[in-house]
């Protein structure tokens, strides 16, 4: 008989310091890791944007070369989408979802750690391209055939492909985890239609991820075969369809847009009811709208391709489906306004950011409806008008909501309140700077200024609005500095918040801040929507939430830390670099990952207890 006794290093049981963070599988710690890492990457994406705005501030500037400019806009887009907004959303999924559904962790704690480390590996890989011969330069959408070897011989695109593959693995692992967690780990009584909106939107987002990411994975694999092995997927000279990449990319890319915005809508749907002291107006309709947006998100991808000549029938169909998506989106906006209507509104910083989100998202939504009309889009395609639109929905939308989320959940995570006075400065500065930066782009866009140009002549008449936009961008950077100051200051000496500073509605506010490692001493029983709110208002206690003697702390068995998720991710990172530089290294990386996967599979979630 074969004995499989591999000398496995002793499992980390109660590590401290750095090992604690490297081997943790606690969803709260992983959430913090995600948040901090994503914020640092957000800053790098912001610096890339500032370089571009400095270059465009004056006509015919020579701050960066055209080659570097191409790399800047590619890295800015890729970074903000895959390394900033998505993982910041994942940070809150990690920290908040188990708390909102009354669970002690996610369904697969080690897989969760693996998601984080793999995300970090992908981020390192993408960002290191700046120092290894040049960053990718074909836009975040990387249209083939311009990404083919004949037009793009350097390693930049290789870094882009492989880092996106690694990030895809991370995102998929996280999405599987959250789907299972939300379906399977809800507290007793928490039926689907009693779930908090943020949990609902996380669920919908995760389903979108599960179905959309394989499409880009395959497209990237195909591009990889073209680049590494001389295959013909995207080689028009061999008869390949020059539109195939665009279709595959946007079949992924449009659901991706909703992957970026639905978590934001979930956050807003938590904050607005809390600070209006009213339940969310039309809860079932808001849930349904989110689901409908996700579903219809699959039917609109060709609106990114109105000008490639798909013909009037295809253009009309995609124009109509795109316009139709405005309906469920509008429903949500009216629900948020209906929630605020006659509520006793408290304009905390989180609420200000949320209301700011609604206002800015409406502007972005309206310009979106403008270019859903194929005829009108022909005038707007590839101009700064599109840049204005996408920044109103991604900055005005996603980032504003994520900042709101930080102000809202910071007390839960740290036990301290963020400064409201600095917060108000932060909000107004962000709100004004954001409009100063992106609103002028509507004008330059309609005036014909193309996207992705590195400079322009003064005779074009775009000087003024570009100068204003650049000024706004640096002001926006200042507002982010104010935000960072507030976070650091409040973390050190913010006012102690207590467990429920906002008179919250959902289960996370029923436990102490920061929550104990096991979250809930006793798993709550849910009998209504907004269970914690109901419990506080109703002396008959319609919900039995929090508190309770229950089992003592020592009776709760939490899953133990593990080295293996980290090792698998390191293997993937080595494998990624290996595929670019040396196949032998790639094989070593693959072997490390494989061995670690085996060790992981045979490692029990909990070691048998020592007596």
């Amino acid at each position: 008989m074969i004995s499989l006794t591999i000398p496995i290093p002793k499992r980390p049981t109660h590590p401290t310091g750095i090992w604690n963070w490297l081997t943790t599988i606690d969803h709260k710690r992983i959430g913090i890791l995600y948040g901090v890492t994503a914020f640092i990457l957000f800053l790098t994406g912001g610096i890339e944007a500032l370089y571009m705005r400095a270059q465009l501030a004056t006509p015919e500037a020579e701050i960066v070369s055209p080659e570097v400019f191409n790399q800047l806009f590619t890295m800015h887009g890729t970074t903000m989408i895959f390394l900033a907004i998505m993982p910041m959303g994942t940070a809150f999924f990690n920290y908040i979802i188990p708390l909102q559904i009354g669970a002690r962790d996610v369904a697969f704690p080690r897989l969760n750690a693996f998601s984080y480390w793999t995300f970090l590996a992908g981020a390192i890989m993408l960002k290191s391209s700046w120092f290894l011969g040049g960053a990718p330069n074909a836009g975040w959408f990387g249209y083939a055939p311009i990404t083919g070897v004949p037009y793009n011989p350097g390693h930049g695109i290789d870094f882009w492909i492989l880092s996106l593959q690694i990030l895809g693995i991370a995102s998929l692992a996280a999405a599987f985890n959250f789907v299972v967690t939300i379906i399977n780990m809800r507290a007793p009584g928490m039926s689907l239609m009693r779930m908090p909106l943020f949990t609902w939107m996380t669920f919908v987002t995760s389903l979108l991820l599960i179905l959309a990411f394989p499409v880009i994975t395959v497209a990237l694999i195909e591009l990889m075969f073209d680049r590494f092995y001389g295959a013909n997927f995207f080689v028009p000279a061999a008869g390949a369809s020059p539109l195939l990449w665009q279709h595959l990319f946007w079949i992924f890319g449009h659901p991706e847009v909703y992957i970026l915005i639905l978590p934001a809508m979930g956050i807003i749907s938590e904050i607005i009811p809390t600070f209006s002291k009213k339940p969310l107006f039309g809860y079932p309709v808001v849930v349904l709208s989110g689901v409908v947006i996700a579903f219809m998100g699959w039917m609109v991808w060709s609106h990114h391709m109105f000008t490639v000549g798909l013909g009037p029938v295809a253009n009309s169909v995609f124009a109509l489906t795109t316009m139709a998506i405005a309906v469920p989106t509008g429903v949500k906006i009216f629900s948020w306004m209906g929630t605020m209507w006659r509520g006793s509104i408290h304009f905390s910083t989180a609420m200000l950011f949320s209301v700011g989100f609604v206002a800015l998202f409406i502007i972005g939504g309206l310009s979106g409806v403008m270019h859903s009309s194929a005829a009108s889009d022909a005038q707007q395609q590839d101009t700064y008008f599109i840049v204005a639109h996408l920044h109103y929905v991604l900055f005005g939308g996603s980032i504003m909501a994520l900042l709101a989320a930080v102000y809202y959940w910071f007390p839960k995570i740290t036990g301290r309140l963020m400064s409201e006075s600095i917060g108000k400065i932060n909000f107004w500065l962000t709100f004004i700077a954001m409009n100063l930066t992106f609103f002028p782009m509507h004008f330059t866009g309609l005036d014909g200024m193309p996207r992705r140009i590195y400079t322009y002549g003064t005779e074009m008449g775009w000087d003024l609005w570009n100068a204003v936009a650049s000024m706004g961008a640096f002001l926006l950077a200042a507002s982010i500095l104010v935000f960072m100051h507030n976070v650091v200051r409040s973390y050190r000496k913010g006012e102690i918040s207590g467990s429920d500073p906002w008179d919250g509605r959902t289960l996370e506010w029923s436990i102490s801040s920061p929550p104990p490692e096991y979250n809930f001493a006793e798993i709550p029983v849910v009998e209504t929507r907004d269970p914690f709110w109901a419990q506080k208002r109703d002396s008959v206690a319609t919900a039995r939430v929090g508190g309770g003697s229950g089992e003592g702390e020592h009776d709760i068995h939490m899953p133990q830390p593990s080295y293996w998720p980290l090792v698998v991710s390191i293997g993937l990172l080595i494998g990624g670099y290996g595929l670019i530089y040396n196949v032998a290294v790639a094989v070593v990386g693959g072997a490390i990952a494989l061995i670690a996967v085996y060790a992981w599979s045979f490692e029990p979630v909990n070691e048998p207890e020592e007596h």
Binding site: M1, I2, S3, L4, I25, A103, R104, D105, V106, A107, F108, P109, L172, F176, N177, V179, V180, I183, N184, M185, R186, M190, I210, L211, A212, F213, P214, V215, T217, V218, A219, I221, E222, F225, Y229, G230, A231, N232, F233, A238, G239, A240, S241, L244, H247, L248, I251, Y518, I523, E551, D555, I556, H557, M558, P559, Y598, P604, V605, N606
Partner: protein, 242 residues
């Protein structure tokens, strides 16, 4: 005592909201994702179909009887997978080992056929008699018709003209699609063999059968994907009218 996260053995399902085991749900979610993976590969194949500028094409290289045999073997392996799981839940560890080993062997047989097929395609020879009526020649063979110039009718044209991922769009899309399916089968075989070894260490028993259940789900899925590939790529590729 409520266990946080997945329970240590993955077998207790009473603590989950739906009663379904976490890992089983994960497997279904993964298979849904994998559907999109193969859907995109097959979509690429279909979009690129008929766009190759040079041969050989599907009709030149495919040998339907041979691939039918390997397809049959793969489908039968699904049956033996069912029998392996059934034997295990019945409590027959011996039956389980026999059936899971035969599933793995049939998987390896399928892979051998695939390696053989890839090798044959890569070394494909154009071979026809100059007396053959031109309407009976494939489009690819006709491009070699000038080799008959000045030869008598009994002359046979023999040209080495292999199909690789670089040759044409058909080669690219065919090899990557079927190659990724083969990679899935390979992973499945490794998984099955791991379970076989694991059963000798007491890791698989009549009550601890979830690992086998999950492997079976994966294995059946990979088989179903092959049915689609065999139909869409092989049968539609050779028989006119599709």
């Amino acid at each position: 005592m409520l266990e946080a996260g997945a329970d240590p053995h993955g077998e207790n399902s009473e603590h989950t909201t739906t009663g379904l085991n976490h890992r089983k749900l994960l497997m279904w979610a993964f298979l849904g994702s994998d559907c999109m993976f193969f859907g995109t590969l097959i979509g690429t194949y279909l979009v690129s179909k008929g766009r190759s500028l040079v041969g050989p094409y599907a009709v030149d290289v495919f040998d339907i009887p041979v691939t039918s045999v390997s397809t049959f073997v793969l489908l039968m392996s699904s049956m033996s997978m069912v029998l392996a799981y059934a034997a295990l839940t019945r409590g027959s560890l011996k039956g389980f080992r026999i059936w899971i080993a035969s599933t793995a062997i049939m998987g390896m047989t399928f892979l051998s056929f695939q390696v053989f097929e890839f090798y044959e395609f890569a070394n494909h020879e154009v071979h026809f008699k100059c007396s053959t009526p031109i309407s009976d020649l494939t489009e690819h063979e006709r491009t070699f018709i000038d080799k008959c110039a000045g030869q008598d009718a009994s002359h046979e044209v023999e040209e080495q003209h292999g199909l690789t991922p670089r040759t044409n769009l058909f080669g690219t899309t065919f090899f990557v699609l079927t190659g990724f399916h083969g990679a899935h089968v390979t992973l499945g075989v490794v998984w099955l063999l791991s379970l076989l070894f694991y059963s000798f260490r007491g890791g698989v028993t009549a009550k601890r059968n979830l690992d086998v259940d999950l492997a079976a789900l994966y294995w059946h899925f990979v088989d179903v994907v092959w049915i689609v590939i065999f139909t869409v790529v092989y049968l539609f590729g050779v028989f006119p009218g599709f």
